[in-house]
Structure formats: structure tokens, C-alpha cells
């Protein structure tokens, strides 16, 4: 008999996730830790956490970590990657951001990092609202979706349209990899891990900006059970935000 699952080495000992019950953030952090273990990069990794629930990453992941001002994670990661390169070191640098951080307040920093082909990886948790502040309308809130600042549902007259982040990033010439994944069932979790790992590997190969958008639940603010939230992703959100690899320089 062999052990087929254990807590990843790159998770801090005795750490307990402080995300809400059923929140997909926990699964995403676990996948990242597993991939860091598998690629054996724990000692070379510098993670950039951002504002919102994703900042909690640094309490759980056992790698060097810096918190970025809201939206600036890709700029901070750029500085870290380039500064180490100037000193002759090749470090593994990735950001862990929410959709508000990556695609609203930080869109300029995110897009320009992709355009420069900055050799970093960005992971964006898209839960279609501002989670930590209680579920307000964000850049990815779906048309018709009710939030605390779109109480009769998002409509184009008041709020305009949501952004399809992975598609936009795929359009940048400096992007090596851009994909959208989900975590609502085992099959998708397995696929998410595969795509995140590929994004990490592309950075290791020096191919440029790699990006994975993770469609995630926010059961607390969606006011759904974890099960209902997963069903919402499967039935509704994947129709708006298709799960797909939008750019893959090694396989396109």
C-alpha cells in the first residue's frame, strides 16, 4: 500500500486555510503547492500575493512571498524577476490575484506585463465579484448577475460589459500561454493542474508571460451552497467564460 496523497511540502506546516467553507481558493492554492513540489522549485520561488482574498496565499504557501499593492502584482513580479536576472539569478516568480486585482484596478500592469513578454506567471482567480469586501460588482460580473452594487442584476446601461480576461491576454504577442480552467469537479481539477503546471513550465523555459484564469466559486457572496456554486459554474459561467487554452506557443 502506498500513500497517494499527502499535504504538499510547499504548504506551511500546521497551516489551516482561512477561506470560507467550500471556496475554490483552497483547491487552487493546493494545486499550486503540488506543482511547486513536482517541479522542485520551492527554494527558487518568489510569490506575489495581491489584495483581496488572494492575499492570504502567503499564510499558507511555504515560499518567499511579497504582498503587492492592489492591482500591481504583475509590476511587482516584473521588478523581482528583472532584479534577480540583473544579479545573474533565475528565480521563479508568479502572482496570485483575483479578477478585480488582475483585470480591473491592475489591468494596465497585467496587460503590459503580457505585452512585454515578461517571463513571469500570473494566476487569476475569477469569482465574478469582489469577495473580501462582501460581493460587489467586478470586472467579470456576468450580465444579469446580482451583487451588492448591482442589486437588480448587471445591465449594460449602468455597468457595461464584463471582461474575458484569458482571451485578452492571449492576444498579447508576449504571452506564451493563456488558458481558462475551472475547479467544479475532479475532471476539471485535474485539467486545471495540468494547465497551471504548463504555465509554470513555460516560465522555466523562458517563453514569456504565462497566464491561467481559474473560474472559482464564492459561495458566501453568491449566497449558494458550495455544491450549488459549483453547479452555477458548470451550467452558467462556463457558457460565458469557456474553458479553453487560448494561446500555447509550443502547440499552436
Amino acid at each position: 500500500m502506498q500513500q497517494v496523497f499527502s499535504i504538499p511540502k510547499s504548504i506551511k506546516q500546521n497551516s489551516t486555510f482561512t477561506f470560507c467553507p467550500g471556496c475554490d481558493h483552497g483547491v487552487a492554492v493546493k494545486l499550486i503547492a503540488q506543482i511547486i513540489d513536482e517541479l522542485n522549485i520551492q527554494e527558487d520561488t518568489i510569490a506575489v500575493a495581491s489584495s483581496g482574498c488572494s492575499v492570504l496565499l502567503y499564510n499558507f504557501l511555504d515560499v518567499d512571498c511579497i504582498e503587492s499593492p492592489h492591482g500591481r502584482a504583475c509590476a511587482v513580479a516584473t521588478g523581482i524577476k528583472r532584479a534577480h536576472k540583473a544579479q545573474g539569478n533565475n528565480k521563479f516568480v508568479f502572482t496570485y490575484q483575483g479578477d478585480g486585482d488582475f483585470a480591473s484596478i491592475g489591468l494596465a500592469e497585467s496587460l503590459h506585463s503580457a505585452l512585454r513578454g515578461e517571463n513571469i506567471t500570473a494566476i487569476c482567480i475569477n469569482n465574478t465579484n469582489y469577495g473580501m469586501t462582501g460581493g460587489q460588482l467586478g470586472p467579470t460580473t456576468a450580465m444579469g448577475q446580482i451583487t451588492t452594487t448591482s442589486q437588480s442584476g448587471r445591465n449594460k446601461e449602468y455597468h457595461g460589459f464584463p471582461i474575458k480576461t484569458a482571451e485578452h491576454i492571449a492576444l498579447c504577442d508576449g504571452t506564451s500561454f493563456s488558458a481558462r480552467v475551472a475547479l467544479y469537479d475532479v475532471k476539471n481539477i485535474v485539467n486545471a493542474k495540468k494547465q497551471i503546471k504548463k504555465a509554470f513550465e513555460y516560465q522555466k523555459k523562458g517563453l514569456g508571460f504565462s497566464f491561467v484564469e481559474i473560474l472559482s466559486t464564492c459561495p458566501t457572496n453568491w449566497k449558494l451552497s458550495p455544491q450549488e456554486a459549483h453547479k452555477k459554474i458548470e451550467d452558467e459561467l462556463t457558457k460565458i467564460y469557456p474553458l479553453k487554452v487560448f494561446k500555447d506557443v509550443e502547440n499552436d
Partner: protein, 69 residues
């Protein structure tokens, strides 16, 4: 004998593992956890666990800490 180990101090009672177990070996226990709901327990009297680790994969809190096959 395949089995899992649960750290119930980490369980937040989302029950995603209960739904995913193909053999229905994880269930609500009598113990109240930190969210005020019953934490899960592993109940495999007939040694049906196949060690597929799907429960560990979906658990967002890494409360399923070990899986053996």
C-alpha cells in the same frame, strides 16, 4: 487496505468530499466543527475504499490529509 485520514480540525463542513466519494464512505459525523456544522468522518467498515483520492482533490481545506491505496 486503502483508506484516508481526516484532520477534522480543518474541516469546514462544505461536504464536497461527501458528494465526490464514489463509494459514499464519507459522511457527516456527530461532532460540531468550527463553522457550527457537523464535520465529516470516514466510515469504511467493509473496507470499500479504493484510495482514489478524489476526496482529497476536492477538499478546499486540505482536511483530508492522507490517502493510501
Amino acid at each position: 487496505m486503502s483508506h484516508i485520514k481526516i484532520d477534522s480540525s480543518k474541516c469546514k463542513s462544505c461536504y464536497l468530499c461527501v458528494d465526490v466519494c464514489p463509494k459514499k464512505l464519507i459522511k457527516k459525523s456527530e461532532t460540531i466543527g468550527k463553522t457550527g456544522n457537523c464535520v465529516v468522518e470516514f466510515d469504511d467498515k467493509n473496507s470499500q475504499c479504493i484510495g482514489c483520492a478524489q476526496c482529497a482533490m476536492v477538499c478546499p481545506d486540505m482536511a483530508i490529509v492522507e490517502v493510501y491505496r
